[in-house]
Subunit: 538 residues, 2 copies
């Protein structure tokens, strides 16, 4: 049940009850009165009722809730401020005229707490934990999009008892949040598109669509205003957001927790009221409990930082802790796959170690550290076996293209790679997660040349979409990508060295495939077999 | 942005502003005051500030928001009740001591409006409209679960201009909602498990798990407190709920609409406040606009009914109207598939026309009517080509089993059907939607006998799960069904005529398959060919 904020006046809680006099005849206007009942017991209330509606002392009447429960002192005590009652002649009398009752239907706090629990399962049968971490990384990527220097995102797992209760921290050196933005963080479904704009200077100036960048890696990956909440409450049951916005001397801090929601319901307080603490960097005077010892270091680090955001999740569910510790190889590989082109640049992980970043964008560093025995520290770039890396490693040639959808002008950059047959085996990497790449007419086997039949299974593909392609709220599925790409008005062009090529893409593609086949596939065929020579000289 | 209900006292809006005096030195306690500013202009407010904090007339100070925006009359005018300000020595001064600011983070109304838009896409690439209708049918099935007589659910599409603007009505003769239950309908994420109980008599007595019934068709299909809202706002932009609860003389009615939300935001009112209208059945005095002419008939029908619920959706999106009209065959088949065992009984659509219902449960009638030119009226039972019907029709034998999961004691009833090869073709029905049935070890081809290889593709399966198997919020995917069923501790038993059979299920299944093959598959083989006889006598 939801509770209104109790109506206070002069420090006193008021309780006003609206009463409709339904004893009147058909057609007559219903008389209604608002009675102030604070301080009154049931008897006193009934007296007031008699006075207000001029009920004669010998008259019989029934006072009932709008659900026809006859009032007694117990029900009277439970009535909330702004309740509505019916004054009736008889219990089952029809309502000659309609009455109106004020209600409040504020969403239950499970809107925040439960939002992720089921959604993450909707798309795949896997453990969705890496995807919830991805939501937090997405947010950090957005926040660091305008960084001048390195963009640093750290996932710290504080699972060592000496640090307090288990906690997970996602820390970034992005633009941070003003106190107003921090409040907005907590507002479920408040998306960047619907956010209030133009209020006093400190808030952003409404949503501005970013300029196109190669492969749409613009970090513009927030849409719904649900991701952060979905993620943190999927991981644990409490979150402490700590943020220092760019250009401000203050750190803003806020805690939202399941326990707090429960407490507020119990005390009949407004569940969505909260507190933001504004303080100077490094001020840890509010950290009192030993459970949160890990906060000491975190807050002490603040002093050196211009701006940052730390998402501190506590009450981490034991299953998650086990998975995070034991399957660290699994989920870091999944993350390395999701963010491959962010951490390695638009061309992906280069096999030759080129430390000079070719595309001149600030480097993105995603660090994972597990404070446990033994501790683990790693850079997501070190992962060697994510499927993108494997595709890149085994590819010998690429075919680039761009697709433009007719209706809305969305663009998709695409890349097809060739993985040749070498001597005794296919080099096509096996994908442990079997990601599906949609097939287009022009590169579909069915339309291809017979002699190249086997080559169609030697290609892998990767797509980069712009913001015209909506994803589902859990960001695991594109909603209409396939439909849109297969639309007959969608236009495909081959790209060579960044330049659009005129010509028929199906023909170009088939030619490319043929070249690949001739140049790269090494089928061992023993031609011109003569005889077996036994080498005796060895 | 969210707005608090303006603080009213004696009919006057109040605006209280909390001010922290941050001019104090390190270590000193910060002085804070709450100032009542209604009726004050900026100048008057600054005067009050001087008085309250004893600011000397020649003293320099800065008054700023917690986001360090220096106050001017424009910002002052925009401040909400319960705002917090900092009184500083200098604009960039550090906060010697922390301050606390009250915030409110009530979810944005898109929580209701947008909840379905993306979710429905998460699981399948199809038009999700039938699944949103299914949410409303689910609710109606729950509501009619205890009906004595026929359980009637009607989907009425009022797309004829003469009836007003396009509207969609889902009507059931179930238990209806009290005014309190109707309010709870609107509370997002208020599930049956978390609902307030024990309040004055009229509300249910908390959630009681229903007794097991064959194939778990107990209509206990509400879990999250989101389905109804997700569905109606996926279909249109406004909903009118009309309900008469069992045993009450009153009809309760409520409207929630996107326009109304927008209006409230504009007027800085609480977006989640609403009105329930309590009235007698048949009272249509509140229906004023021609747009809703279709309400006349609906409300006039009320008089004959003991209890009912009508979900009236308006602002139906044009794409949906087109789909509903043109593809009526498609979506009624999908619904007939989803509710096959509800509308035809636990054994499914019997091919012989047995009007006597074998399981003695009240009949479930789902009617579809399209008020258009020409009108369409149909009973979902008439659908002949839903995939379940096709499976049943072409099956020659069945193998029943029950699975029990070890950890939580969930049960799954299963049915495998055999679709034989007949003369020149397979009789296995083609499923237009390619639903996947999870395979179990004991009926997997890989483990089977070689000679039966082809028979493994002649079986179809259907599973009935109990409430121990959670589904995703859009109810399109089981979250862990496959995992749980494949768990090595999950126990399978064959069922024959309702009785559990001892024995090895893999052996039993293989034997069954062999029998089916021998008995039913008719491969045309021309054995003992001798010669071609030309029949001359014809
Ligand atoms: N690390 C961060 N640094 C700065 N601002 C952040 C950070 N994380 C979140 N925010 C702010 O909080 C808002 C809410 O985040 P949240 O992830 O809940 O929703 P979203 O990113 O807007 O949408 P989506 O549902 O697509 O994730 C963001 O839009 C952003 O303004
Ligand atoms: N047709 C109906 N008749 C009676 N009560 C209804 C009807 N439809 C909805 N309700 C009530 O409103 C509540 C909210 O419905 P809603 O579909 O939004 O959520 P839910 O059914 O509780 O959960 P889910 O998200 O699984 O659908 C229901 O639990 C039920 O009490
Ligand atoms: Mg986000
Ligand atoms: Mg429901």
């Amino acid at each position: 049940m939801q509770f209104n904020r109790p109506f206070m006046e002069g420090g006193k809680v008021r309780r006003r009850i609206r009463i409709y006099d339904c004893r009147s005849k058909n057609g007559e206007k219903v008389n209604q009165e608002m009675l102030e009942t604070s301080g009154l017991d049931f008897k006193g209330f009934i007296k007031l009722l008699h006075r207000t509606f001029g009920i004669r002392s010998n008259e019989t009447f029934v006072l009932a809730t709008t659900d026809r429960a006859v009032l007694d002192s117990k029900i009277f005590d439970e009535l909330q401020d702004d309740s509505t009652l019916h004054l009736l002649k008889q219990k089952h009398q029809a309502l000659a005229a309609a009455t109106e009752e004020n209600i409040n239907f504020t969403p239950h706090y499970d809107t925040l707490i439960q939002s992720g629990t089921y959604e993450y399962w909707a798309s795949r049968g896997q453990n969705p934990l890496p995807y919830s971490l991805a939501e937090l990384i997405d947010n950090a990527l957005s926040a660091t999009a305008k960084n001048q220097g390195v963009r640093k995102i750290e996932i710290r797992m504080m699972f060592d008892d000496t640090l307090g209760k288990p906690a997970m921290i996602v820390l970034d050196n992005g633009c941070g949040m003003t106190s107003k933005q921090l409040k907005n963080w907590a507002v479920y479904r408040l998306s960047k598109f619907t956010r209030d704009v133009g209020s006093y200077g400190s808030e952003d100036e409404g949503y501005v669509r970013p300029d196109p960048v190669p492969r749409s890696l613009n970090s513009d990956i927030s849409f719904f205003g649900v991701g952060g909440k979905q993620a943190v409450f999927h991981i644990g049951d409490s979150v402490r957001m700590i943020s220092k916005p760019y250009g401000s001397p203050d750190v803003h801090e806020m805690v939202i927790s399941k326990q707090d929601f429960e407490k507020k319901v119990k005390n009949k307080e407004d569940v969505y009221s909260g507190i933001i603490r504004n303080r100077k960097p490094g001020d840890l005077s509010h950290v009192k409990t030993n459970d949160e010892r890990f906060l000491h270091n975190l807050i002490q680090e603040e002093s050196g930082k211009e701006n940052f955001t730390a998402v501190v999740i506590t009450g981490v569910f034991p299953d998650h802790i086990a998975f995070l510790k034991q399957d660290i190889k699994v989920w870091t590989r999944q993350l390395a796959e999701v963010y491959h082109y962010y951490i390695h640049g638009v061309n992906g992980k280069e096999m030759r170690d080129s430390s000079a970043d070719s595309d001149c964008h600030p480097e993105i560093k995603i660090m994972i550290s597990l404070r446990d025995k033994p501790p683990v520290v790693m850079d997501l770039r070190e992962v060697e076996n994510d499927i993108q890396t494997m595709y890149i490693k085994s590819a010998v040639d690429t075919f680039e293209f761009k697709a433009t959808t007719a209706q809305d002008g969305g663009t998709v950059d695409g890349l097809i790679r060739y993985h040749p047959f070498l001597y005794d085996r296919e080099t096509y990497p096996e994908d442990p997660n079997a990601v599906q790449v949609s097939e287009f007419d022009w590169c579909a086997q069915s339309k291809g040349v017979k002699e190249l039949a086997e080559c169609y299974s030697r290609i892998s593909g990767v797509l980069f979409t712009d913001d015209r392609f909506p994803v589902s709220t859990n960001k695991l599925t594109f909603m209409e990508l396939e439909l849109k790409l297969k639309h007959r008005d969608t236009f495909f062009t081959r790209i060579v060295k960044g330049q659009k090529q005129r010509g028929n893409i199906q023909k170009d593609f088939t030619q490319w495939l043929k070249n690949c086949h001739q140049k790269w596939d090494k089928q061992v065929k023993f031609l011109n077999f003569k005889k077996t020579i036994t080498r005796t000289e060895l």
